[in-house]
């Protein structure tokens, strides 16, 4: 299956063109050949008439032809390739032109008054075109003779001529086929240019802040472009709307929860009421957080513009430095400013935010963030110099709900949420040991 419009069109055109050229060549060749053979036939016939015109019978009944009056000089030159001879009733030669040396065996002879054109082989390598005419000669004294006149010409010249013609014909046809194919290629380039422009714009779109296809396209693809633009606009707007709605939901649920959380601290309430109230609220909060975060994750989207990674990480670094100023946490981000990857900004902020926050929270004042691109994926590394994750935590920490009932709030879900985001990009997240002595979170997000 050919997977390109241009290749398809080109292949179809090439086949069509070759068939057309072939048929044309064949028809031309046949017509010209017929025409040439007819001309040769006519020439031999004319020669026959001329010979017959100068023929006579002697009184003794001998066939005779005046040598002076031979209509073609080639008939007089020995072995010139043009021959004429007359056979009698018994098939013996009664006259032959001086050019004919030796005889010529005719496979058949025409009836009286009939013309017969034949190709006859002579020797090994000669082909003769022959025209025979059967006739009766009645002398004045009433004698009746039956003769056959045979005119023959070596076909070598004819064959050569035909070959030359064919050579010229096929050369011309091949050259014109080639020219046509090149023209066709140019036409295809020109005709398909809007599609190439569309593809180019689509890929540029991925690095452009304005998610819209600009320019006027041919009528056939303009609807496609318009629809794509609508889709792109809606896609972005829907995600924003959706996230805002989730944010509002969080706000309207969490403010009352904060009030309840405050009530849970009221010393006038019995401890056996406050305890469950606190833990249930913490539980509700974790579930809410997890589900909201999960719902807000965009995941992989088509035509997402590749995002610059460094600014997001640096912004988070600045924010977290402020938050952990008390501990004097150093957050260093060493990401190449040119590094880009197709990931949603909200998702990356959430992912890096949770992991970097975790590192700052559990580290001992040092967090290092780095990122790199491999051939087909984005790699992120977040290192800290804290106590590390410990054995067997790899799966447990990433499971949803682990530590949801932890006494310190909002810690159990961080990595589970991060893992969820990474999963939505078909990537993976691993907890390993850092060279800084603490934990390293290693994240791989494949391009597709």
């Amino acid at each position: 299956m050919i997977n390109s419009l241009r290749a398809r069109l080109l292949a179809a055109t090439a086949v069509l063109l070759l068939a057309f050229i072939g048929l044309t060549g064949f028809a031309l060749q046949t017509a010209v050949r017929d025409r040439a053979e007819q001309a040769e036939h006519d020439r031999l016939q004319g020669l026959s008439y001329a010979l017959l015109g100068s023929a006579d019978i002697t009184d003794k009944g001998q066939f005779k032809l005046g040598q002076r009056v031979l209509p073609e000089s080639n008939l007089s030159r020995p072995d010139s390739g043009l021959y004429a001879f007359v056979l009698n009733e018994k098939g013996s030669i009664v006259w032959h032109s001086p050019s004919l040396l030796g005889g010529l065996k005719m496979p058949s002879l025409p009836a009286v008054g009939q013309w017969q054109a034949l190709r006859v082989a002579r020797g090994k390598d000669q082909q003769l075109l022959t025209l025979s005419f059967g006739f009766r000669w009645v002398t004045d004294n009433g004698d009746d003779y039956r003769y056959t006149l045979v005119v023959a010409e070596n076909s070598a010249a004819f064959v050569k001529q035909m070959q030359r013609f064919q050579g010229a014909l096929w050369t011309m046809l091949s050259v014109s086929a080639l020219i046509l194919l090149i023209v066709e290629l140019l036409i295809l380039r020109w005709g398909l240019a809007p599609l190439r422009r569309l593809a180019r714009n689509l890929s540029h779109l991925q690095s452009d802040d304005d998610r819209r296809l600009e320019g006027r396209y041919p009528d056939e693809i303009q609807p496609l472009v318009s629809n794509l633009n609508t889709m792109l606009a809606n896609d972005q707007a829907r995600l924003t709307r959706y996230r805002n709605a989730l944010g509002d939901l969080a706000h309207s649920l969490k403010t009352p929860m904060a009030v309840l959380r405050g009530i849970a601290e009221d010393k006038n309430l019995p401890e056996d009421t406050r305890g469950p109230l606190r833990s249930q609220l913490a539980h509700m909060n974790d579930i809410l957080d997890y589900q909201l975060q999960k719902a807000a994750a965009a995941g992989r989207r088509s035509l997402a513009r590749p995002l610059a990674i460094a600014p997001v990480a640096e912004k988070l670094g600045r924010a977290l430095t402020k938050v952990y100023a008390e501990q004097g946490t150093q957050i260093s981000v060493g990401i190449d400013a040119r590094l880009r990857a197709p990931i949603d900004e909200g998702d990356l902020t959430e992912l890096l935010g949770t992991v970097m926050d975790n590192a700052a929270k559990y580290g001992r004042g040092q967090v290092v963030v780095d990122a790199e691109r491999s051939r087909d994926a984005l790699w992120l590394w977040i290192d800290d110099n804290g106590p590390g994750f410990g054995e067997g935590s790899n799966t447990a920490l990433l499971e949803r709900g682990v530590r949801a009932d932890s006494t310190r709030e909002g810690q159990g879900l961080g990595l589970a949420v991060a893992a969820e985001i990474v999963r939505s990009y078909n990537g993976d997240l691993h907890l390993v040991d850092s060279t800084l002595g603490g934990a390293r979170v290693e994240i791989r997000i494949p391009d597709a």
């Binding site: 944010g247 009530i263 601290e265 924010a319 938050v323 909200g346 709030e409």
Partner: protein, 235 residues
């Protein structure tokens, strides 16, 4: 310390304000963005606690305007949106820390105290000046090993002077940072508080930790001693 609380949920605001007042803060409160914007820019605020999800001008707008006006008191944001994008937006706009709802009341208090200390350049929750020690977490005051019993207002005055140790604080400034906007004030009361503080902190009058600069205000020395003549240019 004077705190501004901008939170549109009445119950939550009341809870926060009650707690802060118990902890010795003078608290101004509002649930409206417009009003909050005015308070934040016009009142002598020491710290602001601002909810991001306000009707009218949002918390972000208020923070941005406060910073644009050149005010640098610490701002703590309350947010229900636990998404990092929202938190980062608030911090980038000029907030110093955030607390996500629902929060533990103690955590809010701890964050506020930490921000206040940090803004005055103190790294520890214990403020020390010579042998005077103020534990801001427990609101306890010691001179040497001895615990000193202070009233709420006396504590407020001492804490403010400690946080601004070495600076000259006018009576007006002290009044403004100790009383809420609509409280009845009498600047003479400040003199009474200072006199009582002096007698409690330095009963035998040897160290003179709080210095009076006539017509200008008070100064608490960094090392708790004022033996040398008053040096007005010290900061």
């Amino acid at each position: 310390m004077r705190a501004l609380v901008i939170e549109d949920d009445v119950d939550l605001r009341e809870q926060i304000c009650t707690r802060l007042r118990q902890e010795g803060y003078a608290v101004d409160e509002t649930g409206e963005g417009e009003e909050g914007m005015f308070y934040a820019k016009e009142y002598p605020i020491d710290i602001a606690i601002i909810d991001l999800g306000l009707p009218g001008p949002t918390g972000l707008d208020i923070i941005a305007e406060v910073r644009e006006a050149g005010l640098d008191y610490p701002i703590l944001i309350l947010t229900a949106r636990s998404r990092w994008q929202d938190k980062v937006e608030g911090l980038e706009a000029g907030a110093d820390d955030y607390v996500v709802k629902p929060f533990q009341p103690e955590e809010l208090s701890a964050r506020i105290q930490a921000l206040l200390r940090r803004s005055r350049g103190w790294a520890q929750p214990r403020l020390e000046s010579g042998d005077i020690i103020v534990d801001t977490t427990r609101q306890e005051v010691f001179v040497g090993d001895q615990s000193i019993d202070l009233t709420a207002y006396e504590y407020r005055v001492l804490e403010y002077l400690m946080l601004h140790a070495g600076e000259v604080i006018s009576k007006t400034a002290l009044t403004e940072h100790i009383y809420e906007e609509n409280a009845e004030r009498d600047s003479n009361v400040i003199e009474v508080f200072v006199r009582r503080l002096r007698s409690k902190l330095d009963p035998d009058g040897t160290r003179k930790p709080i210095e009076t600069l006539r017509g200008r205000g008070y100064r608490l020395s960094r090392d708790g001693r004022n033996r040398r003549p008053a040096d007005a240019s010290s900061s």
